[in-house]
Amino acid sequence: MAATISPPSESFAQTAPNPLRDGLRLERMAEPCTMVICGATGDLTERKLGPALYNTLLGGFLPPEFTVVGFSRRDLTDEEFRNHLLEGINRHSRNRPAKPAIWDSFAQGIEYHRGTFDDPAAYVELARRLDRIDRDRGTAGNRLFYLAVPPNLYPGIVNQLDRAGLAASGEQRGSGAKRGWTRVIVEKPFGYDLASARALNHEIAAVFDEDQVYRIDHYLGKETVQNLAVFRFGNGLFEPIWNRRYIDSVQITVAETVGVEGRGEFYDQTGALRDIVQNHGLQLLAMFAIEPPVEFGAEDLRDEKLKVLRAVKPMRPEEVASNTVRGQYVNGWVEGQRVGAYRDEPEVAPDSETETFVALKLGIDSWRWAGVPFYIRTGKALPSRVTEIAVQFRRAPLALFSRAGVSQVDPNVLAIRVQPDEGILIRFGAKVPGQGLQIRTVNMDFRYGSSFAVDSPDAYETLLLDAMVGDASLFTRSDEVERAWAILDPMLAAWAAGEGGPLHFYGAGSWGPPAADELLERDGRAWRRP
């Protein structure tokens, strides 16, 4: 036996990686940093951000130096703000209630900064506070700003951050002095149409470099969406048939059972197309249809998504009426509950023309997808809450079993379910056992939950940690956002001009207006009942 214990690495200067980190289970540890939540007393902080931080802490992903600064207008003490976060965790976290000793220790690193977002002095004070935190808690000048505020406040906040010297990042701008990184997370909706999205991007770009900006689409944080890439590029079986030669059509469904839930004012100005299709719908489409990226990194992945979106040809004004269906729910029943009409919701105009349902037919003009229709539908007050992508394959070329009385076998379907019950279903024909030849469709149903019964992290946990680690793969880039708006703009314009076809009504608890079914029937297809 050798007398020495083999040394694994030669040197570990301060800049060298931590030799003890080598081979450990948790590879994605956040760097020491301060997270500043602008709009810290709002709903998002309480329901999502607080619980996500707490669960990330329990998982061991947050370093001891990690510090939270809540920034808002309300007059709160540090203690009151901590309690506000704690209540949110105790109500909404997947691990709850918070363990008192652990929370008390974590809460020492939580502060509250009171100020209005248009007051320059508040930012100067914030800068001082952050410098102090860097010194006292060792956060090394790394700062993550989370804009949990309505989008109309983004430009103002971003400008104020810049003026207070809080926007520069050591990563990108190399200001000479050694300093940490600065990143900013913004929430959807990102713009209202192409022009407003461009204006917003422009204002943010005047202050932050694109690689400092993290635009959250929480759908991309979901396991299945990430699994979509693994499913396609990690398996040799599916990629060869992932094209126009074998795929007949694709349906993307994002169905909600809820109505507008007190967000009437916001929703009435937004509608289903902007609220869901612009981000979740088109992101799912892009993730489904991308070409293999050179590497599974942020820029390559987003380049490929952008290529897909660029290949989606915007409709000409006269095409809108025949390729889109918009609907609005009237009273009905959902999950055994009576639901009133959309126009009767508080803060909704009694003659509102806003769509709560939309069905679209899009095409991707690329070598791989030319001629394959992509149908997207989304709506509120639908019969079940489900998000899925269903791929219908072409039929077998010959009705080989017709002599035995089987005229046509149903086409194969592959359904990728994003929520609930994340999983993948394959439908194929099988012979019914017995003397005759009878063919029945069977489902092969794979659920992630039944193979890996592990608590998946909430999308916000994944995304917050990604932002702290500096991995932007699952965030949307400005060019993607603008391209998505460019696809939708002609529809919005045609509808606004009254040329995009009528607004159809559907009973709450139905799968949308009959016109949505007709959209597919014209092509000899039908919506899946998910």
Binding site: T4, R25, G60, A140, A453
Partner: protein, 415 residues
Amino acid sequence: MTGLFEAAGEEQAAHRRLMRFGANQQPATPMWSERGTTVQAVAENLARLWDSEAHDTAAAAGTTSVAEKGLAHARASVLNLIVLVVDDAAADRVVSTLVDLGVRHPSRAIVLVPDQGSEAESIDARISTHCHAASGGGDRVCCEEVVVAVRGEAAGHLSGIVSPLLIHDLPTHVWWPGDPPFRDPIFDQVVELGDRVLVDSADFGDLAAGLRRIAGLRRQSGVGDLSWERISWWQELTAQFFDARRFRRYLPNLSRLLIRYAAAPDTDVAAPMSQALLYAGWIATRLGWRRHRTVEPLADGGFRLTLEGKHEMVDLVIRPEPTDIHRPGDLVSVRLRSLGETGAGEFIIDRRGEDAAVATNADGMTALLRLVPMDAPSEAELLSSQLALDVVDPVYEDALRAASILLASAREPAA
């Protein structure tokens, strides 16, 4: 927890950990069992289990249902697990543990109870199944256990019995709870059946020999050790000290590592030292420390060595700490001291019940102190984490070899 250890006699020491498996659980209700059966009969019954027909039989017998809504249950499996135990009672305890395990690893487990010494030649087998509703509802995760008691000469030829019962094309793990018979040819034979071997070095009767033997095993997917899994959170917390760049410079100047591990008070049974040794071996290999001399040889579960660090000589001290709060062998506290360029630094992890206090005293700053969760994971959880891995862990292998060297040094007289 203490009562168990007071009762543990010398002959039970090797299996003391195993005794706690599923202490409060009933063994699974068998769906099929037969004395004096054949391997073929077991295989046929396994295949039939998931038919809807079997569902009806099971329902009639009032046992666990494996089918839903009259449809054959769609089932995902991720691995085979072969477990070796010494007797029927141990088999029951293992099956109870596997019930918990199935939640994360839908698998087929084959629990073997070999008895080569028996006069009679026979195979007894029983099959049980479990389905768990996964969290969030809806999904069900299913697993099955086959317990096969093999008596007589056939017990020396287990591979022919196990192979037909495995689900093909899935990774196979061999778990050997307790003190494996390293010198018995049956050990090599069973280890050959798996891609990965799982042991718990805390249960080795002869720790030095066991560590050497495990370090010499070459399996495609490596070796797992539940004791290594137990210290993984300690490793994580330790690494976190030095994730901060300003503290990283203390690493080359570490001059003292003090590790305390729990020992049951008032008992002659020595607490297993493997966690403390593996932790020390891990730090030593990551930081490139070399053996230098023995200061205090091993006595009463403690020892002291001088190691040669990068810039400093390192004082390594391992001590048992009498406590009945923690499981014997579990780490209780770790202290790393450094003579940094700007002064001394100390990095401390102290276990306090279900939490741990983690403190840094360095840079002349006020101590950074925080509390983090430190739950003692159950055996099922440890096993579950280890089963999720299917690659050789070079960090473990390095630590294991170092632990073996440290233990050998500790047994030498002081120099």
